[in-house]
Each structure stands twice: as structure tokens, then as C-alpha cells.
Symmetry: C3
Amino acid sequence: MAPRSSRNPPVRSEARPPIVTLLTDFGTQDVYVGIMKGVILAINPHACLIDLTHEVGPQDVTAGAWLLRSAVPHFPTGTIHLAVVDPGVGCKRRGLVVATREAYLVGPDNGLLSPAAGALGVRSVHAIDVPGLVKKRVLGHSISQTFHGRDVFAPIAARLSLGDSPRMFGKRLAGMVTLGLPASIRRAGSLMGQVIHSDRFGNLITNLAGGEIEKLRRQTLTAGFSHPEVSVSIGGATIPRLASAYAAASNGELLAIMGSWDLLEIAVRGGNAAERLAVGRGAPVKVTMKSER
Amino acid sequence: MAPRSSRNPPVRSEARPPIVTLLTDFGTQDVYVGIMKGVILAINPHACLIDLTHEVGPQDVTAGAWLLRSAVPHFPTGTIHLAVVDPGVGCKRRGLVVATREAYLVGPDNGLLSPAAGALGVRSVHAIDVPGLVKKRVLGHSISQTFHGRDVFAPIAARLSLGDSPRMFGKRLAGMVTLGLPASIRRAGSLMGQVIHSDRFGNLITNLAGGEIEKLRRQTLTAGFSHPEVSVSIGGATIPRLASAYAAASNGELLAIMGSWDLLEIAVRGGNAAERLAVGRGAPVKVTMKSER
Amino acid sequence: MAPRSSRNPPVRSEARPPIVTLLTDFGTQDVYVGIMKGVILAINPHACLIDLTHEVGPQDVTAGAWLLRSAVPHFPTGTIHLAVVDPGVGCKRRGLVVATREAYLVGPDNGLLSPAAGALGVRSVHAIDVPGLVKKRVLGHSISQTFHGRDVFAPIAARLSLGDSPRMFGKRLAGMVTLGLPASIRRAGSLMGQVIHSDRFGNLITNLAGGEIEKLRRQTLTAGFSHPEVSVSIGGATIPRLASAYAAASNGELLAIMGSWDLLEIAVRGGNAAERLAVGRGAPVKVTMKSER
């Protein structure tokens, strides 16, 4: 997570409307998100505004961080990701502009940006100097204590989309508050992980990556066992193999599958695994290799 | 639903930003939809992305098909409609590009696209040749088993928005999986239908069209009855006439009205008909003509 | 709310894509909002469409009016705000185009637009002459009884975004249906108000403005009391001071704070005040000044 050189900032072609994504815990029943968009468009009317999600659980920084990290690799170079899940608003927590090889990240320094920044490769981290920016009239003179999304982060995202450099907004920092996703634990012949996200379909996304499971398989082969087959235990249930597709299971069947993030997912074909197993985020998952010698 | 000539593909003016609509069952609490938008904008930064809805019931192809069919007639010529309700993802089900007189439809071949295609007038249906497109590098080399919205349908919608022809994506097909909306049944002096959608207001939208009810009225007149008046039975209640507007009923009153799709709707003025009658999709509706000889 | 001169209509630069915001009670599970956007883009493909919210409670004109009024000051000059919460659709209620110094407002004449119009400064109010506009083919020939959002308001918003004058749509009116937000009551040493909105976080937004509380404080000083300190009573609880930030309270603590609209808000640090106090919109709030002589 150590910042690298910022000599090569993200390139933005003038012809492409600059993309600003928004991820918050503001929900969509209020007009908070709409207001942030108004603020951005007042500064850069050509910004292309894309919602990632606004239904992060209220003040759930970890969930927001994970969702942001999932989304950022799929956006083109030059995208500005504005993220606000901010229980410390009005407090001493800093605001950040993070430049990566591909994108800018703007939001509070509470870990929300760190997994995404790590995935994209950090080039520089700048603190947002709110009083200085108010003095320079980059920010309005009345900054609320409760809505920095509107008063601080949205204007800065808009200015980045106009081509302003992160240096404009405050001092360079040596690092940022980081928030690791939980690590998995490898034992002889098994891998312990946990559920990091339960999606709308009740699919349970774990922190166990395809590469880790492959390593475990090779380890088992090296140990002289043949035909190692993955077995997954979660919520009292055991799934005896990895499925190649949802549709490879019969209707209502519990299955384990490498999901679209290359992470192990537990699902029910045509159903809801979170409900079936009565588990959610944080639930332990164990992968073992069954094999014959 | 038989494909017609594709000699005249939908015209798109270069000056108009091409519209890509999105309809899914992905919900908005995850970032799946945002990711699809990132993928599209990485290919065509000028695409204008419009959400139809992402709250189709999980894997409810019929509801998705009906909602898509409701929306498509209101978009300008050249619009690309991307729809993903896809319980068969990763299985043998095909992906489709459907060209109609006015628009393109992209999504799984499971009936989701068929009512919309029928309403717009099909010109051609092409299968999406995923392995061939991976080889030609039109699609990325790692196609997930679970998220063809991101890996297959979004890139193809983006390329259509750049002007690519449906022929680019696979072989022409003679037809597609079709999903008829339920037909109504006409008897002497009555019409039997059903609720096909219950909206946010609890309005119950039926499959009984204005034209069918008009036919029934004329039939009744022809049979020598005068002043035929529609009467609607649903969920144990009988509504003795058609209202001309919600506001023509008194507050809390149950009413039957020709809705904005020219389909018979059952509503409660200032209330919720689905709750009042405790009925939902599939509930039978009967229209009879009361008259005097 | 009396209309002023409309000699200087809102200026829109041709280079800026015109913004059309949408606020409705249509929800997002149906495609009603998507359809309105299709109608707008068919008329003006360069419109920039921004959702304020579509989750106004069904037919809750007051809530919609308040949300709209909160959002409009943050949008740039020339924005067109399209709002539809319309229990009287199909009835005699008029449709309106309101020109303000900064923006246009389009929607039903049921009070929905009035707080926003008041906040922006009304220049002119025009009734929408539906039959006349159908005759002139500005509107389509079949106007539904139930969906003026699609058939009337969206086309007019689109035409305003192309530069059409409000005069095009109907006769000028002397006024409009107004909907005041509830007034506060000032007594000696106290201020009575009420909750006007409960947001996603359970924050309770009241109708008590910073200026009113400041006046009360000065009044107390003038009366010879020193160190006046605000105390807030709501739902059986008393909060002995104003907090300077959410984060100034300890976790789980109830706090009173001047919110992002310069209105008094009641919140729970890291929690939900609406749930804690079991109160919602309309609940009375009392501000008193504690002081020493």
C-alpha cells in the first residue's frame, strides 16, 4: 500500500467524457446522492456519473471497501471513484485523494479506499486540506459537519475530472488507513476462510481465491495423493465438489463454485444459500481435499 | 416471432449518443450493474446508459420479459436493450443478439427477450458464439461461469453501440426461445384473464387489452343488448364499471381502469389493490358485460 | 410565491448538456422511470438525466415536495426538474411549468413544486394545456389517464431542455397550489417545531432552522441571561446541548446537531434515532434555552 511515484498520473483523453463513479451508504430514498451529482455537474457538466451502489449498510466501511474493490478493475483508465461511507464525518479523520495507475479514488481515510487502491496499485496519496481549500475558494465557505460527500468529496472529484492534479488538494502522505480483507489460513490439506459478502441472490462470496485452492490441490498431489477433489464445509453442510456452473447443479441443490471475482462462492441453484444455511458475512468456510492414495 | 430480413438494420446517427438500456435481476445493493456499465464505457465511452430496472425478482424470467416489453416501445430508434435474467448462466443456453426494426436486444435465449422482440418486430436473430468471440478477442479470454452480463452481454451491447453488425457475433438463427404472455379466454359475454404484474402502488395489471374488451362490448351490442357496461371480478370482489381516472373514484374505493399500457388495471384510489384483495401475479380476472335488452 | 417577470429565462449554454432531474414516487421495481427517460431521450438525445429519488412514499406529496426543495439549490443554472407525485392524475388538477431564476420545474399543480419554487424564486408559472398541446402535436394523441409522467411531463421537460419557452405550453397563471412546510412556533425562551423527514440513517430532520435558534439565543441574552445553551426535547428524551459533529458524541449517544440543510437534526452516533425514539415525521420537537442569570 506504500505510495509510488506519481510522475505518470492517470491519462484522460479530452474526447472521452470523464467517468465519476459513486459508492455510498446514503441509500436512494433520500436525495443525498442526487445532490452530490448536482454539485459535480455544476463544476464539470461533461462528467459521466455512474452509480456503483448506494446501499452499503449504514456506516459499514468494510462492506463498502469490498464492493468498491470489486468494481474498480472494470472501469477504464482515468475513472474517478468517489466513495463515501463515513462514520467519522466532522471528526478528525482525513479525506484522501489516491492516485493509482489507472484511476483516482476520493473519500475518507478510514480504510474504505484501501482495498481498491491496493488492487489498482497506489502511486500517491494526498490528504485533503479542507481549511486551505476553503481559503483558496476551491471549496465553498460553509462546510457542513455532516455531509462531506456534498461539500468536500464531490467538488474534488469534479475537479479531478477537469484535470486538476491531486497535489492541488493537500499534502502528500506516506500512507493511508488500510483495511485488509480477512486472510485465509492454510493447514495441511485444508484452507480456512470466511464469507465476506452475501449478495442479493443469497450467494455467499468467500475470501478463498482460485489460486489458493489450486495451491492446496498441488500440495496434495505432491504429497502423493491422486485425484484430489475439493470439499467445502459451511454452516453445517458439506459440499463434496466444485461445480463448473450454477446450472450444473439440480434445482435447489447447494453448490460451491468459483465465482466471477475468482473467489469461492456458495450458492443454491434457483435458491438462496444465505437463507438455506442461515449464515452471512463472517461465517467460517473450510475447504479440504479428498483424495485416494 | 419469425425473423424477417435484416437488410435495414436500425439506423443510428453519429451525433446522438447511443442509448444502452439495462434490465437485470441483479438488484442495486451489489456492484454488478455498475461493473457492467464500466465494461460498456471502457469499450464505448460515449454510450448513454439508462437503467430500466434491476429489481426483477431473482431469476424471474417472465416478470423481466414483461417489464422489458413494456419499456422498449418508448425508446428512440437505435437503442440497444441489454437484459440479463439468466438462471441458466454457465449452462448450454445460448446468448442472443436480436435486431428489430427499431432496436437491438441482447441477452440470454430463455424467453426474456421474446415479448419485447415480438412487440418491436424481429428482423434477425443471431446466436452469440462465445468461444469464437474469445478467439477473435472480441471477448476477454476468461469468461466466468456466473456473470455473462459482465463478460459476454455487456461487451456485445457496447460493440453494437459502436456500430458493429449482429452478424459479427455468431450464426443467424431461425428463431428463439419464446415466452408468450398468458392469453385471455373469450366466452359468450365474458372474458377471462389474469394478473400479470403488481406494481409498486399495488396496482394489478392484467393481460386484458382495451381492444378485447371493446370487442366483447360490440359482440354484446350485436346480440341485441343495449347499454352494455363492463363489470370486473377479481379476488372475490366485483367492480361494476370502468373508471375514467383514478381520481374518478372516491378515496379507498376499488376501481377498474384502462391503464397506461392499454391493459385493464385494478387499483384502489389512494390505496393498494394487491394488499386489499390479497392477490398477485396469476390471479384470475373476469370481465362480463352487464346490459339490458 | 407570486410570479415575477419572466423576461430573463434561465440561461443554458449550448455546450453544456442540459440536465433533467427526475423525482417520483414510482419506485425502481417497475420500468416507469426508465420509460420517462426513453421519452425524454427520444426528444432530446443530449439530455443528461439525473435521478433525485423515486422512493418518495406512494402519493406522499409533502415528502416529495420537501425532498425536491432540498435538492434543487445544488444544481447548476438551467437545470430542469421533473417531479411526479400525482394522486390526482386524470382528474382536473393542472400541470405546471414553473420558471425560476435558476431552473425550470415541471409537474402537477398539487403543491409538490411549491417549496422548491419558493426557494429558487419564481419568475413565472404556466399551466400545461394538454388538449391544446395534443392538437399542436407537441404531445402524442393518446394521453393516458394514469401516467402523465410519461405522456405529458416528460415530453415537456424534454422540450424545455431543447430551449422551448414555458409560454409554449399554456397560459400564464397568477399563482399555483402551495404547500408550506410546517411553521415553527416561538414562545418566550422556547421554539416548537416538528420532524419533517426521517432519512435512511434514522436521522430526524426538523423544521427548525439555524437562524431561528440563533434568534432565540440572542433573545435570551437580551433578557439578561448569560451562557445560554440549547436543550432539545423529542420523543420523551432531552438532549442538553448542540453537538458540533456526529463524531463529537460517543457511540450510541443521542445528539442534536445543525445538519447539512442548516436545519436541526436529531441523530444517534453510530445508530438510528428514529428507531431509538420511536418517532417519525410530524413528531414534535422543542428547543429551549438553559441559562444562568
